[in-house]
């Protein structure tokens, strides 16, 4: 790749340092109809998530007698990437990402408290600029918290990579397509446990360790931000109801 | 090893049952086993694996033809899927709880139902507390092909006598033939060989499920693997296999 991902001064294409994440922005309660919803922005990547549940299982045969059934659907809007996409749902990549998000959320949701019910998570990518998977997991996490579904911990996710011999944090689309590895991590911060770990492209084991650690730190930072957003939101709600007096 | 000639498969057997050349031999579906016209016994009870076509008794399953005096005859085969039949002892898992019965999975074509009263000392007030996934040792009290099989956790007199909830332990699958061998007398060689050196509890269901419990986990694993391996081995081979397994465990 002739493109220089890190300038000699140590700045990336968008002016960030290697271990800097993009600007984060999150909003809760954006969809009125849903039991819980959230948007999450990481730089130019914008994602919206909605949670419906816990409600009665639609398909009786899929009902689980001792825990809640969690379903997840990931889709990208036609206008989310540069060229208009034709098939945004049901293709293999979407199926895999839906599976992966669902299993990450299942690790956090206390499903045994809600047997014989179903929880639906819908995640929709509005604008894709790298790191869509992470943004989706973060958004889903906030939406679940907004819906009041009991969780062990929030799930925070971040992507990291390795280009020009430097580990980079939170890749954007250009860096992602740079041919280097792409490591996505989802962390349960208070428990310090990794629930999702995906990597593609080749990387020696020692390098992987460095990239992995960097990704971990990124997740912790994002988790802090998410927690603050949740606290703010809860305070506003409580204030609006007159529970908390300023 | 004995070798049968092929021609006999095609001729109907002579009338005397006890001396019929097919008793204890392997039959295949379609084999004509008996010619009732030549039979000297007045009534004959056909068990599983046989059907009657006017005067002929024809096998429908592949297996060994068995006969018990005076007049019971049936084909014993080994398969993985269990078809419930009366008075069999089976091991099942509780799947669901209805108002008056439990739905139990016995590995057959349909789930069986177990009335909540068919436990020792069960009354309306005292309903056994079984969760989904509990292991039960039961017997089949009703098995008709058009109805859901019914099960019971008490014997005919109302006592538990071994039936009921099996706690802890490990359940694994084997074929129905092996399960029958494990329950037969004299004791199956693999169980005998295991029993000489290990102490464990075992419950065998004719539906091809075996429950094992022992003080230590390694004993349970050893017993379960030994029984699963014994599927196709002869008596001598079973003993050797158990010996080998025990040796290997002692070494490690």
């Amino acid at each position: 790749m002739a493109l220089e991902f890190i300038s000699p001064e140590g700045l990336r294409l968008d002016g960030r340092r290697p271990a800097e994440i993009r600007q984060l922005r999150a909003n809760l309660g954006v969809i009125d109809k849903a039991d819980g919803s959230a948007t999450f922005e990481m730089g130019n990547t914008k994602v919206i998530a909605a949670v419906y549940g816990p409600h009665e299982v639609q398909n009786r045969s899929q009902q689980l007698l001792d825990q809640a059934l969690v379903k997840c659907e990931y889709s990208m809007a036609n206008f989310s990437t540069g060229d208009r996409r034709r098939k945004q749902k049901g293709d293999r990549r979407s199926v895999e990402i839906s599976l992966v998000i669902r299993q990450s959320m299942e690790a956090a949701i206390m499903t045994h408290l809600l047997p014989r019910t179903q929880i639906d998570i819908f995640v929709h990518v509005l604008q894709a600029d790298g790191g869509t998977r992470s943004a989706c997991i973060n958004a889903a996490s906030l939406a679940l918290a907004d819906a009041g579904i009991p969780m062990r911990d929030i799930v925070a996710s971040c992507a990291s990579g390795y280009l020009n011999n430097t580990p980079l944090l939170d890749l954007n689309y250009l860096e992602d397509s740079g041919g280097g590895p792409d490591v996505t991590i989802a962390l349960l911060p208070k428990l310090d446990k990794i629930t999702l770990l995906q990597m593609d492209a080749k990387l020696p084991l020692e390098m992987f360790e460095k990239v992995f650690e960097l990704g971990n730190k990124g997740c912790v930072a994002i988790a802090n931000y998410m927690r603050n957003v949740l606290l703010e939101n809860t305070k506003d709600l409580a204030f609006a109801r007159g529970v908390v007096k300023v | 090893m004995e070798v049968e000639t092929a021609q006999e498969d095609l001729k109907p057997a002579p009338g005397q049952l006890a001396s019929s050349p097919f008793i204890n031999k392997i039959v295949a579906p379609g084999d004509i086993v008996l010619d009732l016209a030549q039979l000297s016994i007045p009534t004959l009870r056909l068990g599983g694996g046989l059907r009657q076509d006017q005067d002929l008794v024809i096998a429908t399953k592949a297996g060994r033809l068995k006969y018990i005096k005076p007049n019971k005859i049936w084909v014993e085969g080994s398969q993985k899927r269990y078809i419930p039949s009366l008075e069999d002892v089976v091991i099942g898992f509780v799947v669901d709880r209805r108002s008056e019965s439990f739905t139990v999975d016995i590995g057959g074509p349909v789930h069986g139902s177990l009335s909540i009263f068919l436990f020792e000392g069960a009354t309306r007030r005292n309903i056994p507390n079984l969760q989904a996934g509990s292991v039960l040792y039961m017997r089949v009290v009703k098995a008709h092909r058009d109805m859901t099989p019914e099960l019971s956790c008490v014997d005919a007199t109302g006592k538990a006598s071994g039936f009921g909830h099996l706690k802890n332990g490990y359940v694994f699958q084997c074929s129905t033939g092996l399960a029958r061998a494990l329950l037969s007398r004299p004791t199956c060689p693999v169980l005998e060989a295991l029993g000489k050196s290990l102490s464990f509890e075992i419950a065998v269901g004719l539906n091809g499920r075996v429950w094992v419990n022992a003080a230590s986990v390694s004993t349970i694993i050893l017993v379960s693997n030994a029984i699963m391996n014994a599927e196709f081995l002869s008596a001598a081979q079973q003993q050797l296999m158990v010996q080998k397994l025990l040796q290997r465990v002692q070494e490690s």
């Binding site: 199926v95 998000i101 | 070798v3 986990v217």
Partner: protein, 434 residues
Amino acid sequence: MTSSLQNFVVAALKEDQRIDGRRPFDSRRLNMKFLREDGSAEVQLGQTLVMCCVSCQLVQPFPDRPNEGSLSVFTEFSPMADSSFEPGRQGENAVELGRVIDRGLRESRAVDTESLCVLAGKAVWSLRIDISILDNGGNLIDAASIAALAALLSFRRPECSAGGEEGQEVIIHPPEIREPLPLILHHLPVAVTFAFFGDGDLVVVDPSYKEELVMKGRLTVTMNVHGDICSVQKGGGVGVSSGEIMRCLRIAATKVADVTSSLKKAAEAHETERAFRKVKRINVAATTEGRRVDISETVKAEFKLRSAILDKSIKSELNDDEDSSSEDSSDDDDDSESKEDNVMAPIRAVKEEDPQSVLPTDAVFQGGVSQWPTGTKPYTISGTMKTNPTGNSVIKVSSSCQEEKPTAILDTAKKNKKRKKKNKKKVNRPISSM
């Protein structure tokens, strides 16, 4: 069912034992078989059986990569392997498997795609890897990845050259004229799967079917023997500490080394056998014209030989653990011999490719002479037993078979004799189909 099983599996793991007798980091026995056609392989990992076929086609390249070929992975999860697979529609597990294998091969550049280019911008080879699951005994990803690599190693693409006007046409040379070429593989990315139980603190390698039913999380690492990680997939599931993950990666490195050496050995053996087969094809055809074989005698001899071998195996079992395996078979370390895979246990017979009997050439057929290649692999008993190309242990007889087989075999033999006299077309069914 799963709750009681789960309790037991976790209790056993806390004492470092698995329900099939393995230790937590033991893999099951691995058996690789290369099938007759180039580019097809069958892998058996414990009870899991996976088959893979590689085929190629000349296509137009992608516009942004005019001088690179392409690779695509397709999976088939037939309900034959597991009743929970749905026919037709691909479940999410099937998609995940396909994508993990795809990522391991494509992103890590294991296959050299530039060598697949024939005419830049116009014609490149597109490889299609088809993975079929035949029996789900747990850990499909590992078995499928090994099968895909085995198939890629044995695949041969036709040689082609530019020709025609101005060298713009591609001439594909048939295999008889020009020897087909192997693919260029830079490295072999092998997948190793770990399963997590309990709170994420209990780990095992190569989960079996029952362990997969109760596992809480799964981690698949695709690595090559040089220590490069080609892909990692931990798709959610119970949380695991990062220290534990790094430990798993290190363990995977050792497993990958074992599997890669087995793969290479098996591929080499297959190569020599392939070359040998070609030589034989020309010589033998001349000599087997008009040769007659008496089926029943052959069969009786087989039977005696099998029982003799079984007796010997019983004696040898007492003395020695090791199987004397032959060329194509590939076993893991001693560590991986599990109680379940005890020699006494019936080892699944992988289907023989070749016709297993020789038709006497004096039979009269309606509809023409049989198309079976008569000379290549005559099913003489001593020949099969010695060379044992399937790689399966010779000792695979079950005791019930001992009693039943002779009847069946001789029945067929006698019936065939009768039918031969009646001049009807006869087909000898393969005898050993256990």
